[in-house]
């Protein structure tokens, strides 16, 4: 999921940086109003946990591999604003310290993992919990579908970014189906893990799952 240097057309690199900067600038106001030591503490623990979890790749013999991303999990736990911040912290440290994900692709990687995955995960979870009523069953299904759709759409967005380039006029017709189908398949694992973690957290500290509450951030 981490786009390296060399994959993105310069125009896409600039455009994705622009969208990502605009998004984070737009949530700054909310952050300024709601920032508290408790929020930062939760954000930091979750970011550290997701960073560690992302180091566990799932290599599948003879097939395509994937690692846990955690965007939907962060969105469900802390809401879209703080969830985005969690993934932004993880993805930026990965890029700057370990060169995991290119510097020219940092805008795109943040857009995919810290924005698309986070927001979709949150929105889907909220919709499921609202439709089914709050229970461990709805939490698991919400986490499963949120995690799955979040990573699938993040994969498709990634496919669009690397596929649309002046060099490859029809590149996206190749990259989008590849990224979409593989992520839709492997994203089930992401969904199951997300659902299980949400149910576990709900059994210990249900009050910290922000998407279970009506308030949005």
């Amino acid at each position: 999921m981490h786009i390296p240097d060399g994959f993105l057309d310069p125009l896409w690199s600039i455009a994705t940086y622009g969208v990502t900067i605009a998004y984070f600038a737009s949530i700054l106001k909310i952050l300024k109003k709601t920032f508290s030591p408790e929020k930062v503490s939760l954000l930091t623990v979750l970011a550290a946990g997701i960073f560690a979890a992302q180091m566990l790749n799932w290599p599948l013999p003879g097939g395509t591999s994937l690692h846990f991303v955690g965007g939907a999990l962060a969105g469900i736990m802390l809401g879209p604003v703080y969830g985005s911040l969690v993934l932004a912290l993880v993805v930026t440290v990965q890029c700057l310290i370990f060169h995991d994900g290119g510097i020219t692709a940092l805008g795109a990687n943040l857009l995919n993992m810290a924005i698309v995955d986070v927001i979709i995960g949150y929105v889907v979870y909220r919709a499921i919990v609202k439709a089914m009523g709050l229970s461990n069953k709805s939490r698991f299904i919400g986490g499963l579908l949120g995690g799955w759709l979040g990573i699938t759409l993040a994969g498709i967005t990634c496919g669009i970014e690397i596929g649309f380039s002046p060099q490859f006029p029809y590149g996206a017709t190749i990259t989008v189906p590849v990224m979409g189908s593989w992520h839709a398949l492997l994203g089930v694992i992401e969904g199951v893990i997300t659902g299980l973690i949400i149910v576990y957290v709900a059994s210990k500290n249900p009050e910290i799952i922000l998407a279970d509450k009506v308030k949005k951030h």
């Binding site: 999921m1 981490h2 786009i3 390296p4 240097d5 060399g6 994959f7 920032f35 508290s36 030591p37 930062v40 503490s41 954000l43 930091t44 623990v45 970011a47 550290a48 946990g49 960073f51 560690a52 979890a53 180091m55 566990l56 790749n57 799932w58 290599p59 599948l60 013999p61 003879g62 097939g63 395509t64 591999s65 994937l66 912290l89 993880v90 440290v93 990965q94 700057l96 310290i97 370990f98 060169h99 995991d100 290119g102 994969g155 990634c158 496919g159 690397i162 596929g163 490859f168 590149g171 190749i174 990259t175 590849v178 990224m179 593989w182 992520h183 492997l186």
Partner: protein, 94 residues
């Protein structure tokens, strides 16, 4: 930081090379992004423009398994340090 969360993170980092290095080498770690990029012939130039000694979670002079674990602890420490600094700043403001 809650003790249970810290222990979970330490455990994840310690077992991470099994998945991130050993099994990945055995089966040939290959993400959907690599598949898509191969089809278009895109070239990863990360190594050519690399700026960090900890490239791809390795530590110069150390074996990949140990380097991966140390990288994990470095990454988590940096995240916790950023969080701690932010908490301090907010605490002072309040």
């Amino acid at each position: 930081m809650p003790r249970k969360a810290l222990l979970t993170i330490i455990a994840l980092i310690i077992i991470s090379p099994i998945f991130g290095v050993i099994l990945a080498d055995i089966v040939g770690y290959h993400e959907p992004l690599d598949v898509a990029a191969e089809k278009l012939g895109l070239k990863d130039i990360s190594e050519e423009i690399n700026w960090t000694p900890l490239f791809d979670y390795s530590v110069p002079g150390l074996n990949p398994v140990v380097g991966y674990i140390i990288s994990g602890f470095i990454g988590v420490s940096i995240i916790l340090a950023i969080g701690y600094t932010l908490m301090k700043l907010i605490g002072e403001e309040h």
